[in-house]
């Protein structure tokens, strides 16, 4: 029984593995100062931006690739990557009609064109999308509607041109270019990304979203997202991603920074579905991402929600620095690994301000030959009085060839802090399955039901549209992994 279902699942293909035939404007392979100057010139960047890149690059050259994560892979050859790939023709697009029809088809296949279509037919939707294709932002929708409220939501390159003062002020604040190997690499070669600024007292009327797709072969994707919520502002931000099916490993090294001012709140949700490689573990995306938010001022809140189902190797720790007093950090995560996928993911909560609170809920599910690790740090600095943290990491194992691991680090330097951590590892209970089957629910559906129940705490945190997608993804990723 188990074998049958497992077989079926293993044969399941990656649904988003198509490539799109679009001529791309590419830089030559390799990485040196000239390439960085080339990227910078291509994007018509001001001098200070080039300086930022070069400084990061010089730092990166002295850095060593980290090896502490519980993953094993062949290190990428950084000279064998194309650092700039933009779909042609690259001109300013006024309306969707001007977008390459091939590109539109791609998005239709990805299932994200609905919003666009609705917009065209005049139907209001509540999501504004920024689409990043091979590191270059293609189209941002609803820009005008948002502009009325004073919200700036555009591609990173546009922000550099139109709002240099904001970019200059906030870029590198949460993730300095010297932070780590991949953040430094990103800072040197990032090609585009999304930029979002919510002014004082504004609640974003709709959910903002970025959709990332790697298309060209031999390229790496290095995008950068910067979200700033000024005093009393609120925004819910979504991120999605897919990539074509290729035998090679492609590198995705992104940086996401969030900055919240007084009483502001940012909710960041990700459904990560990069190509995970085939059932032999060949190909797939290396997802080495640095995500960090700073609760800069009092009473602010940053919340990360992630559903991780893709990538061959994931190395990702969305973190919150709780600097302002009474600030709140949250991390909700579901990470699913199957076949030969490896995930080392978790969070860091750094408590600096007084009365700061953080919650970590992490649910790991491993199947096939995969390895799934939670790695987290909770740090209560001296003087962070009455800090409070609760962490819970559960792992679910499906099959006897996979692994589930937890590596929590807890460092406390304040006596008024209360920190709790608990973790469990188990498999789907026979009794739970039996209970469902007894009520006429077949094995497959019962597993789906139990897994969804297991992840409920996290899925509940996702915005409606994403929750549906996430549940579907979970079901596909795990179909019949247990008998």
């Amino acid at each position: 029984m188990a074998n049958e279902i497992l077989e079926e699942h293993i044969n399941k293909d990656y649904e988003w593995g198509f490539t799109t035939d679009i001529a791309a404007d590419e830089a030559p392979k390799g990485l040196n100062e000239d390439i960085i100057r080339f990227i910078s010139a291509k994007k018509n960047e001001p001098e200070w931006m080039l300086e930022f890149r070069l400084k990061a690059f010089r730092n990166w050259q002295n850095m060593v690739e980290p090896e502490w994560a519980h993953v094993s892979y062949t290190k990428p050859d950084f000279q064998d990557i194309i650092y700039y790939s933009a779909p042609k023709p690259k001109k300013e697009l006024a309306s969707l009609d001007e977008v390459d029809p091939e590109l539109l088809k791609t998005f239709a296949k990805l299932g994200i064109s609905i919003d666009e279509q609705k917009r065209l037919s005049g139907v209001q939707s509540n999501i504004a999308v920024d689409v990043v294709f091979d590191s270059v932002s293609v189209k941002t929708t609803f820009k005008e509607t948002l502009a009325e409220k004073g919200i700036i939501f555009c591609s990173f390159s546009e922000a550099v041109q139109d709002h240099p003062e904001l970019v200059k002020k906030y870029m590198g604040m949460a993730v300095p270019p010297t932070d780590n190997f991949y953040a430094a690499l990103n800072s040197a070669v990032f090609t585009d990304g999304s930029f979002c600024y919510i002014p004082k007292g504004v609640r974003s009327p709709m959910e903002l979203s970025t959709y990332f797709r790697i298309n060209a072969s031999g390229t790496g994707q290095f995008e950068r997202t910067l979200i700033i919520a000024d005093e009393d502002a609120f925004v819910s931000y979504l991120e999605g991603c897919t990539a074509p099916q290729r035998d090679e490993n492609q590198l995705h090294a992104a940086v996401v920074e969030i900055i919240t001012h007084k009483n502001a709140e940012v909710k960041y949700s990700t459904v990560q579905n990069w190509y995970p490689g085939d059932k032999e573990g060949k190909g797939g995306i290396f997802n080495f991402v640095t995500k960090r938010g700073i609760c800069l001022e009092d009473n602010s809140k940053i919340s990360w929600t992630q559903v991780e189902t893709g990538s061959a190797v994931t190395w990702k720790y969305p973190s919150v620095i709780l600097k302002g007093n009474n600030s709140v950090g949250e991390f909700y995560s579901v990470a699913v690994t199957n076949n030969y996928q490896q995930a080392d993911t978790g969070t860091k909560m750094i408590h600096i301000g007084k009365n700061t609170r953080s919650t970590i809920i992490s649910k790991g599910i491993s199947a096939g030959f995969s390895n799934n690790s939670y790695r987290g740090l909770v740090q209560i600095k001296k003087g962070a009085s009455n800090a409070r943290n609760f962490s819970q990491c559960d792992s679910l194992l499906m099959g006897d060839k996979c692994g589930a691991h937890t590596f929590p680090y807890i460092e406390i330097k304040d006596r008024s802090a209360v920190v709790e951590h608990e973790a469990t590892t188990s498999k789907i209970g026979e009794d739970q399955l039996f209970y469902c089957k007894q009520r006429g629910i077949d094995n497959e559906k019962a597993i789906g039901l139990i897994v969804n129940g297991y992840c409920k705490e996290v899925l509940n945190k996702l915005p409606m549209e994403f929750a549906v997608e996430a549940q579907k993804l979970l079901a596909i990723s795990l179909e019949g992994s247990v008998g």
Partner: protein
């Protein structure tokens, strides 16, 4: 980069030079073992905080700062020095500066019990040494192997139950900066049973770096109950490695009580090598001043139907640092494993630090593994309850801390040891 690498080996090289000056030939350890241990030590270097397992316990820095020169000169000890350390219900054995001291030990003939020094091992018994604690797993085991003292060999023969506990007193007595490498081997054969108390003291007048390695083997259906009692004082920096392997149907328990010592690092590594065995590790520490106490456990579940339990509690006062790093490793074949780990700590001052790192590494699916850790302050409501009943602030706090620790102190089944722990614990409060 290269500069850092050179500095790193400098501490190790200096230590090697200092120790080689004073060392004599170790007859019971094969030369090949010693040579490879030195090579491993040179390669790996003494661990510092860059080393994942020693992240919160920088041994290299201690050696660099406190043990630049190692003179290895010791005071002679007499019966009078040892007498207060003895436990009356037990057979007291004494190991001084890493060497088994027969003259100071109590002599008693017990059926099925063998007590001798490592020098007196038969050639087949010599083969046991380094069978559990392998030099390549930890540079400090390599250091011990290369410069090991004439330690103790304890064996309980098949089917023998030793009626009274054995008490091994490890005492250091240096009068200049010293490094002692104490080693022992405890061999509990099939269906045998014994209780072993291991106490650690330093009655010397100078700083000592005590690098202790104990290899313990528990045979089929055998039972070994251990107590580790650490009261080494402010001059002592110690690393204690317990490398234990347990067999089918066997039962191993260790209760560790750390009451003083400037730096105390405990490595409890237990390999559950066959099915249906149990391991229980418990620990309690109270630290003050600039002390650092680091309990590190590694439970390696290799076979199915085994159980392990861990409970560690700590109270950190003043500027002290308490660390718990526990790892449960469940291998592919270890189905039906039941593993539980819990660490609870109380911080008594804003300058104190608690680091915890409970780890699970699991490769089998039909298992129940969990860990929990919590760190906090004294429950203010409980404190209020007591104060409302006319108990003063200080005594109320003491009462609550005692209640916190009682669970572990209650695990001691030897009355005079329990009394000793309780007395020192209360004093430390």
């Amino acid at each position: 980069m290269s500069l850092v690498a050179e500095n790193k080996s400098a501490v190790t090289q200096n230590l090697l030079e200092q120790l080689q000056k004073n060392s004599s030939k170790i007859a019971f350890m094969p030369d090949t073992e010693i040579v490879s241990a030195i090579r491993i030590l040179e390669d790996k270097g003494i661990p510092n905080n860059k080393h994942e397992d020693y992240k919160y316990c920088n041994i290299e820095a201690v050696l660099r700062k406190e043990f630049k020169t190692v003179e290895q000169s010791f005071n002679e000890l007499t019966n009078a020095d040892i007498a207060p350390l003895k436990i009356e219900e037990a057979i007291n054995l004494v190991v001084v500066n890493g060497n088994y001291n027969e003259a100071l030990s109590e002599k008693m003939i017990v059926k099925g019990l063998t007590v001798k020094s490592l020098n007196e091992l038969s050639s087949s018994e010599k083969g046991l040494l380094s069978s559990q604690a392998k030099s390549d797993t930890d540079a400090l085991i390599a250091l011990n192997t290369a410069f090991t003292g004439n330690g103790l060999f304890l064996q309980v023969d098949k089917n023998n139950i030793i009626p009274m506990p054995l008490h091994v007193i490890y005492v250091n007595s240096g009068n200049s900066s010293n490094v002692t490498n104490t080693r022992n081997f405890v061999n509990i054969q099939a269906s045998a049973e014994v209780t072993l108390i291991e106490s650690f003291y330093n009655i010397g007048t100078a700083k000592v770096f005590s690098n202790f390695v104990s290899e313990k083997f528990v045979g089929e259906n055998a039972k070994l109950t251990c107590y580790t009692f650490q009261n080494e004082g402010a001059l002592s920096y110690s690393v204690n490695t317990n490398q234990v392997k347990i067999s089918k149907y066997s039962n191993y328990t260790n209760n560790t009580f750390t009451l003083s010592g400037e730096l105390v690092r405990n490595n409890h590594n237990v390999v559950l090598a066959d099915s249906n065995c149990e391991a229980h590790l418990n620990g309690l520490f109270i630290s003050n001043g600039t002390q650092s106490v680091d309990n590190h456990t590694l439970i390696d579940h290799q076979m199915p139907h085994c159980e392990s339990n861990e409970l560690y509690k700590g109270i950190a006062k003043d500027k002290s640092v308490g660390t718990f790093n526990g790892k449960i490793f469940v291998r592919k074949d270890a189905q039906k494993t039941n593993a539980y780990q819990s660490s609870k700590n109380i911080l008594m001052s804003d300058d104190a630090t608690i680091n915890t790192k409970p780890q699970l590494e699991i490769y089998a699916d039909d298992v129940k593994c969990s860990h929990g850790t919590s760190t906090g302050k004294i429950d203010t409501e409980a404190l209020f309850y007591l104060k409302a009943r006319g108990i003063g602030d200080e005594s109320a706090r003491k009462l609550l801390l005692q209640a916190f620790a009682q669970e572990l102190i209650d695990k001691i089944e030897i009355p005079s040891l329990q009394e000793r722990v309780l007395h020192l614990f209360e004093k430390a409060l």
